[in-house]
């Protein structure tokens, strides 16, 4: 864990060109970075990177609203990368083996956090890494907040949430569950015992509507309902259930009701289908599972039959939002409809429960909300902070996590300096649209589909709907990434305007501007070819640098020194190895002893000097495994690699190397990676 | 008359001229020249002595020419621009004239990469056209290239080569005019196998009126085998060998006899073309075939003028 690189310190300079996924992410995760690590089958590194910004990979990999995917520029070619599911994939692969490193307590000060939802635990995680003693108070029996009690297993299995929480707590955080503030312990005691307190209790109260009939039997509220189902204290509540609301919680409720065995579930909402706040993909799943959706209706009256819910009367909605886009529903004066139903669940919004603050110096406003400084997240009581939904209102889990990060920063800043954290607004501008010409040159590739269990099967129990990506599916999906913002940058002091980059770029991006080359990051596809070819070494390609080839060579040289016998280094194209009979990450431990593999997303980024470097590192044999000719992710990458191999071969034979010192072993369907390594070594 | 050359006399008396070719040996053996000369004696009006043809080192053209003339032949000395600069060329020409040689063919020369010393440095101080101009000025203006006067000038009947089948085809007649302008008195062409293309070239030559002032001798080579033709077609610059000719040679029972027939037919055909003043028979390493060909073509005996 590289704690000082974590989100708590992310600083973005305006001129930096961010991958759009990164710019769109509330916690500024460079999704591109971990996606490319997955593309290279480096799951361990990918998870470590994800954890730097987001301590909930298993949970967020399932329930995130993934603004990154909406921003993804692959969508401009065909379809966005399935980033969210890739995050989950990494966790599926190795999340269970993840061993959190204990944070060192370096500070005398202690911090109490009230609420163990995504926001509170994120803040706890960060603060522990910053060296504080942290205790988290949770009124429920288990930690997790809305992730635990607002989302059911079919979207987020408890075990997976437990895994995230265990990893977070593993850094050394004290968790006190079943401890309700104001009841089991007073707020003032907590404030007294700690140097700072963070209120992260979320919005735990479901709102209802003061409708006629609201006191009938068979009326339920979303959050208590979900929590009860989660605790298995609730079963089927009716055969014909009406859910009022059009947000994600309403959809969750409706899907849950179906799973409890209700034959009919009707969602009723004010908004038209297009205006519904729930995400399209959630609505889609609900429809598949047989949920009916009635749009543009406002509840007017709950119809009672013998003191029991019997149906609902609606007014037709003319419009939900006024001209300024504000929520201000207007109903049709006369048109009313009735539907039948034997239970009603309100899922129209949540409110806060902060009664425990009564009598403290923490002020609330006239609407009962916390009085908060939006920059420092500080309440009127200087050492009391707030984060998550209680601070900002309803939002996605990833926003709560972002808010937790900020709270941790703010608390640390306050405790270190005594001053509130100021405006740290950083400009997050993602790369703009891919230029037309470049788009034409990028090959289309279909998004991998997340396998799910059948809609029919789903309703039998709360089994998770999304099955998760297989290794091949995930790696292929990750390899669709355009690596936005990880491309070439020109060192203007070294550029000699030789035009090489202009000539070799398969995407026609570089141009000479004035007296030096300019490689517009908006178009650059990060293929690395220009970097490998530039004779002035004036081009650095971020993605190539991330491959850490130089440091791998140093490492290999050390390894080679320790062993005798023939040694070999293979450069392998990660795109092409998907055709091989084995996956590289499975192969690595099973290679012949003295064979080391250096992988790259396209061998076009391998320079002559890197190949020579492999020999310098002590290899007797070096072999290149580019994609079989005719197929290359970057059009010319494999061709250039082959030509380089020929060039180096000639060089080597002139200084006494045997003919097969450098070999080319193109990757094709069924190429045996271990077998190839053995052959190379044997010859 | 520009010289005392027999060839010039034959041509200026409007007789159909015959020249042949003698390749000097890759040795200092004068007997090779004498033997070859014996085959050619009486079969032609003059004999070209090649100048390290295809850039292979051989006995010099002037030396072999002197030996040939001792054997009763009239040599046409060849001089390329590849191996000598203007100093060397003028010096050699003074010597050649002093040794009684009368005819000179001015050539650019094959590139040394064809020959047995591809590593050598070439000269190309002059090209064939500036060479022609220099030689004519030596004769007619009695001056060296540097414009200094020559007391006793070398008087050569000056020839040049023409390559009707090389590219750009449309420029080939114009280039002949440049050679004429530079001082050429007679022309020997590349080997003619493609009569159609050759006739077309001659038509362009006549349109420029060149045939009225230039004696044009068509190049004739008896093919010894189909293989030889194939090789020429593929590797020898300026050759145009029709496929029909190759198959004719392939199906021939006696290729040498067939080759002689081909040469004779070709002579009869080029003779029909307006502006052709004679033939230049190049029987490569087959000098003994020349008199047979000339005989069958009705060109013997050679006139005495």
């Amino acid at each position: 864990m590289v704690s000082n690189e974590r989100n708590t310190k992310v600083k973005i300079t305006p001129e930096e060109h961010l991958a759009p996924c990164m710019a769109a992410c509330p916690v500024i995760t460079d999704a591109r970075k971990y996606v490319s690590l997955i593309a290279r089958q480096k799951y361990d590194e990918a998870l470590r990177y994800i954890m730097e910004n987001n301590p909930f990979p298993a949970s967020i990999g399932r329930v995130c609203v993934h603004p990154c995917e909406s921003a993804c520029r692959r969508g401009q070619i065909d379809e966005a990368i399935s980033i969210c599911s890739l995050k989950r994939f990494v966790d599926d692969q190795i999340g269970g083996d993840y061993k959190p490193e204990k944070a060192r307590t370096t500070k005398e000060k202690s911090i109490a956090i009230i609420g163990s939802g995504p926001s509170g635990l994120t803040a706890a995680y960060d603060l522990a890494h910053l060296g504080y003693r942290v205790s988290v108070f949770e009124k429920h029996e288990k930690a997790g907040g809305m992730l635990r009690y607002g989302i059911l297993d079919y979207r987020l299995p408890q075990d997976d949430l437990d895994k995230d929480i265990a990893n977070i707590l593993g850094v050394g955080i004290e968790l006190k569950t079943g401890t309700e503030i104001g009841k089991d312990i007073t707020f003032s005691d907590i404030q007294k015992d700690n140097d700072a307190v963070l209120i992260a209790v979320g919005l735990s109260i479901s709102r209802g509507l003061p409708l006629p009939g609201a006191d009938l039997d068979g009326i339920h509220f979303a959050l208590p309902f979900l929590e009860a189902v989660n605790n298995k204290t609730y079963g089927k509540i009716g055969d014909d259930v009406i859910v009022i609301g059009g947000g994600n919680v309403a959809v969750d409720v409706a899907r849950t009701v179906r799973r409890l065995g209700s034959a009919s579930v009707k969602m009723v909402c004010l908004e038209s289908r297009d205006e519904m706040p729930a995400h399209d993909w959630e609505i889609e799943d609900a429809l598949q599972e047989g949920v009916e959706i009635h749009c543009s209706f406002g509840p007017h009256r709950i119809i009672g039959i013998d003191g029991q819910v019997g149906g609902l009367e609606f007014k037709e909605v003319d419009c939900v939002f006024d001209e300024d886009g504000r929520f201000n529903p207007k109903f049709h004066p006369t048109n009313k409809t009735e539907i039948s139903g034997d239970a009603v669940i309100f899922a129209i919004g949540q409110g806060s429960d902060i009664d425990f603050l009564n009598g403290s110096k923490v002020d609330t406003n006239d609407r009962g909300q916390l009085d908060l400084d939006i920059n420092s997240m500080q309440t009127s009581s200087s050492n009391v902070f707030a984060s998550g939904e209680i601070a900002y209102g309803p939002g996605a889990a990833i926003q709560a996590i972002a808010s937790g990060h900020r709270a941790a920063r703010s608390i640390d800043h306050f405790l270190e300096t005594g001053r509130p954290l100021g405006d740290e607004e950083s400009k997050k501008i993602g790369l703009s649209e891919i230029p037309k010409r470049t788009k034409e040159l990028i090959e289309s590739s279909k998004r991998q589909v997340m396998p799910t269990i059948d809609a029919g099967e789903r309703l039998r129990d709360f089994k998770e709907v999304d099955v998760g990506f297989s290794i091949d599916t995930a790696v292929r999906e990750a390899q669709r990434c355009l690596s936005c913002g990880a491309g070439a940058s020109v060192n203007k002091d070294k550029c000699i305007a030789c035009l090489t980059c202009v000539r070799v770029c398969p995407y026609e991006v570089p141009k000479i501007v004035g007296v030096v080359a300019n490689i517009d990051p908006v178009g650059c596809q990060s293929c690395g070819i220009c970097g490998a070819e530039c004779p002035a070494e004036a081009i650095e390609v971020k993605l190539t640098k991330e491959h850490l080839i130089d440091s791998r060579l140093v490492e290999i040289e050390e390894n080679f020194k320790k062993s005798s016998g023939k040694k070999a280094i293979g450069f392998i194209c990660q795109y092409g190895q998907m055709w091989a009979s084995e996956r590289l990450w499975q192969v690595e431990g099973n290679l012949p002893g003295n064979v080391e593999i250096i992988d790259a997303l396209c061998l076009g980024r391998i320079s002559v000097n890197m190949i020579l470097g492999a020999f310098k590192a002590g290899a007797d044999k070096v072999y290149l495994m580019p994609c079989n000719s005719g197929k290359c992710h970057n059009k010319t990458g494999n061709k250039l690699a082959l030509q380089k191999a020929e060039f180096v071969k000639e060089l080597l034979s002139s200084i006494g190397y045997v003919d097969d010192a450098l070999q080319v072993r193109p990757l094709d369907f069924g190429t045996h990676l271990i077998g190839t390594a053995e052959e190379v070594l044997k010859n | 008359m520009k010289s005392k050359s027999n060839l010039e006399k034959v041509l200026s008396s409007r007789k159909f001229a015959v020249t042949a070719e003698l390749g000097p040996p890759k040795s200092a053996d004068a007997n090779v020249v004498r033997t070859k000369a014996a085959y050619l004696k009486g079969a032609c009006d003059a004999v070209n002595i090649t100048d390290c043809q295809t850039a292979i080192v051989r006995m010099s053209s002037i030396s072999a020419g002197v030996i040939a003339s001792q054997e009763g032949l009239e040599p046409v000395i060849q001089m390329t621009c590849r191996d000598r600069n203007r100093i060397g060329i003028q010096s050699d020409l003074l010597g050649a004239a002093a040794l009684g040689l009368q005819n000179l063919l001015c050539l650019t020369g094959d590139h040394q990469s064809f020959g047995n010393h591809p590593q050598s440095k070439n000269v190309h101080d002059l090209d064939s056209i500036s060479l022609l101009d220099m030689v004519r000025n030596m004769r007619d203006k009695k001056i060296f290239q540097c414009a200094e006067e020559i007391e006793v000038e070398p008087r050569f009947f000056i020839g040049a080569a023409a390559s009707p089948f090389s590219d750009p085809l449309e420029f080939r007649a114009l280039r002949l005019k440049k050679k004429y302008d530079a001082g050429a008195d007679f022309i020997q062409t590349q080997i003619v196998y493609n009569l159609e293309k050759f006739s077309l070239w001659m038509k362009m030559v006549r349109e420029l009126g060149l045939e009225r002032n230039l004696y044009i001798l068509a190049g004739i080579t008896p093919p010894k085998s189909a293989g030889m033709l194939k090789y020429m077609k593929k590797f020898v610059p300026g050759q145009d060998v029709p496929d029909e000719l190759i198959s004719r040679m392939e199906s021939a029972k006696d290729p040498e006899e067939e080759g002689i027939k081909v040469a004779v037919e070709m002579i009869e055909k080029v003779r029909q073309i307006e502006g052709i003043a004679g033939v230049h028979i190049m029987a490569i390493e087959w000098e003994e075939a020349v008199s047979e060909i000339a005989n069958r073509a009705g060109l013997l005996p050679r006139p005495i003028v």
Binding site: C498, L612, L651 | T108, I129, S130, D133, D181, G238
Partner: protein, 231 residues
């Protein structure tokens, strides 16, 4: 620009003989652009030499450095310390740069790392062609802007020899017949008359044949023309 290519490693290894501490100096100008002696090539040369020596059981210590333009005194001056510490210096500049180094550092053992081939241009990525022969008396105005001195195998000035076929020179497939190109160009421009007159014996005195050339701009001299002439 000046085109060069790396000398065979074997040849350099033979020249360096027993020298152990080597310094490879690249040049940031022409030879960088033609992939012969820029930053990357100096390193690959150094690596190649290292590996070649290792094969023979020798451990070389090779460092690399660059001069912005190795053909300038001022740009090779900062290399002094490193040059002095090296047993031998391999210059991957053109012949001019090598000599600049040799003159600037008369004590040092300067070894050329490249063979300088020509003045030309990259006609496409990875292909360089000779375009100028430096004859000192430019004829391009009369040949449609295509140089027969440099680009004709025989430097002919009066049109193509008999070796021109399908636009290719008799010496080989990769060599265009420049006279075909000149003819096409001038015909296209309707200026064939430019090559119809005969160009007689060219004056080669301004070319290298007249001796090593020294080019002078008297208005630029700081020491004065007289000093310069006395030199």
């Amino acid at each position: 620009m000046i085109i060069a290519e790396q000398k065979p490693l074997r040849e350099i290894l033979n020249i360096i003989d027993k020298d152990k501490k080597l310094l490879v100096i690249g040049c940031g100008a022409c030879v960088s652009i033609c992939f012969a002696g820029g930053e990357k090539e100096t390193k690959s040369l150094a690596d190649g030499l290292f590996l070649g020596a290792k094969k023979e059981g020798l451990e070389l210590s090779i460092e690399t450095d660059m001069a912005l333009r190795q053909c300038e005194w001022e740009f090779v001056e900062p290399l002094e310390d490193r040059v002095k510490k090296a047993d031998a210096v391999i210059s991957t500049a053109c012949g001019v740069g090598v000599q600049t180094m040799a003159e600037k550092y008369p004590e040092a053992k300067i070894i050329p790392g490249l063979n300088t081939t020509s003045m030309g241009m990259p006609v496409e990525q990875g292909v360089w062609k000779e375009y100028c022969g430096g004859c000192g008396d430019c004829v391009l105005a009369f040949t449609g802007g295509l140089c027969p001195v440099a680009r004709c195998a025989k430097s002919l000035l009066n049109g193509p020899c008999g070796g021109s076929k399908d636009g290719i020179c008799e010496i080989g497939r990769d060599t265009e017949c420049v006279w075909q190109l000149i003819y096409d160009r001038l015909k296209g421009q309707d200026r064939l008359e430019l090559i119809m007159g005969n160009v007689l014996a060219k004056n080669w005195e301004p070319a290298r044949d007249g001796g090593p050339r020294r080019t002078l701009r008297t208005d630029l001299l700081i020491r004065g023309e007289k000093d310069e002439e006395q030199k």
